[in-house]
Amino acid sequence: MNEPDPDGMTRRQLLRHTAWFGAAVVLTVAAGEVISHIHTPDAPVPDDPNALRFVQVSDSHIGFTGAANTAVTDSFHRAVDQVNALPYRPDFVIHTGDLTHLSTPAQFDQVRQMMGGIRAGGLFTVPGEHDSVDDAGQKYRAAFGKGSTGDGWYSFDLKGAHFIALVNTLNLEKLGHLGVDQVEFVRKDVAGLSSDTPIVVFSHIPLFAMYPQWGWGTDDAGQVLNLLRRFASVTCLNGHVHQLFTKTEGNVTFHSATTTAYPLPKPGTAPAPAPVTLPAGQLADALGIREVTYRQGPQPLAVKDVRLA
C-alpha cells in the first residue's frame, strides 16, 4: 500500500516498525493492527489484574455525511465492537469529544445509544466544538453531563491515578479555552494530592500548541499545566486533530488520538483543516482506538494505538 521510499523509512513505516517490535507481547490481544506503541520496556503486560486499563475513542462525528467517510456510524460501531472484543474488560472508556457532527438532538440520541453498547467499567466523555455548535453545550450536558460541574468538567480517582476531564470547546476565540472557573476547579482539585500521584488529563482540543493557525491549541492551557508542574507524571490525552501525535514537555506527555470518522490533513499541508478523502481502501488505516495501561509505580502510562479492525 505504501509507495517505496528511496530515502528510507517514512514516519508511518517507522511507527509500524516500532509497533512491530514493541507489540511482541500484545499483538495477540489486538483486534486491529497496532500503529503506535509507547511505553517503557517494563510496562505492565495486558493481563496484569492490578493494572488500570482504559480505552480512548474520539471524534466519532455521528451525523457526518461527507465523501471522507460516508458511513461514520458503521465505523463507530466497529470501534465499539473492537472495545468489546478486547480480552479484558476496560476499567472505563473515554470519548474525547466530537461525539456528534452538528449537535442535533437526533445525533446525540444516536451516539448515546451506540455508547450504551460499550462493555466497560465506566463511560466518560468530554465535549468537542461539534457538540456545542448552537447552544454552548446544553444538549451535550443533558446527554452526557451527569456528575459534572461547571460547564461539564469533573475529576475522579482510580487505581492510584487521578483523572481530570476538561472542557475547552466553549467560549472559543481562535483557540481552545478553559476559563478562570475551570482553572480554579483544577487548582482546588489537585491541591490535596501527593506529587507522586499520576495525573491523566482529558480534553478535546490539544493542551499544547500543535498548530494554532488551525485552532489546534488552548490559549490558557499554561495555567493548568503550571498547576500540574509539581507532579511526577502528567499524561494529557486529546482528540480534535484526527491524527496521532505525541510530544513531551518536561513532566507532561501529550498524546493526540486519531478518529473513528475521517482524517484531517497534517498541520500546514492543506489550506484548511477540511476532511480528507483518501483513495479507496485506505480509510481504515487512518482510523483507530487507543488502549492505555497503567500499573501503580513510577513508570509512565503505556499507550497503544490500534487500527480500526
Binding site: 514516519r11 517507522l14 511507527l15 516498525h17 516500532t18 517490535f21 514493541g22 503506535s36 509507547i38 520496556p41 461527507g66 457532527h101 452538528l102 449537535s103 466544538e129 461539534h130 456545542s132 455548535v133 448552537d134 472559543l172 476565540e173 481562535k174 483557540l175 499544547f208 500548541a209 500543535m210 498548530y211 494554532p212 493557525q213 488551525w214 485552532g215 491549541g217 488552548t218 490559549d219 490558557d220 492551557a221 499554561g222 495555567q223 499545566l225 503550571n226 508542574r229 501525535f245 505525541t246 510530544k247 513531551t248 514537555e249 498541520p267 500546514g268 489550506p271 484548511a272 483543516p273 477540511a274 476532511p275
Partner: protein, 129 residues
C-alpha cells in the same frame, strides 16, 4: 528490546522535530503561550455580502450603514456558523453547504463574530450611522 527503545526515541524525536517546525516555539507554560496568527490588517470592504469559502469569511471586515441587512453564504462543503463573540447579536443556525444567513444591523457599532465549529475563522462587521 534495545531496538525497540531506540526506535521509540527516534519516533519521539521525529515528533518533536515536527512540532518545532509546525509551531515555531514550543508552548511555554505561562498563560498567554500561544503564538497567534500574524494579524494581517484586513482592509474594510463596503459590502453587505460575505462569502464563506475555504474555512474563511471573505471579506473578513465589512462596513455597512445602520439598517443594512448583511448576507452570509456558505460555499464550503463543511458546515459553518456566524456567531457573535460573547453576548453579541449574531447567532446563526448551523449553515450547511449553500445555506445563507441574514442579519439586519440596526445600531452602529463594531460586531466581531466567528464560526463556533472552526473558531479560527473570524470576521467583523462595522456598522456606521
Amino acid at each position: 528490546m534495545k531496538t525497540l527503545v531506540a526506535a521509540q526515541r527516534l519516533s519521539l524525536m521525529a515528533c518533536a522535530a515536527l512540532a518545532l517546525t509546525a509551531c515555531g516555539t514550543p508552548a511555554q507554560p505561562s498563560g498567554m503561550d500561544m503564538p497567534s496568527t500574524p494579524a494581517a490588517p484586513a482592509a474594510p470592504v463596503a459590502t453587505n455580502t460575505v462569502s464563506i469559502k475555504d474555512f474563511a469569511f471573505a471579506p473578513p471586515l465589512v462596513t455597512v450603514k445602520a439598517g443594512t441587512t448583511v448576507t452570509w453564504t456558505n460555499g464550503d462543503t463543511e458546515p459553518h456558523t456566524v456567531t457573535s463573540n460573547g453576548g453579541g447579536p449574531l447567532k446563526s443556525p448551523t449553515m450547511n453547504s449553500g445555506d445563507t444567513f441574514r442579519y439586519t444591523f440596526t445600531t452602529p457599532g463594531h460586531f466581531d463574530y466567528l464560526c463556533t465549529i472552526h473558531p479560527f475563522m473570524t470576521g467583523t462587521v462595522e456598522v456606521t450611522p
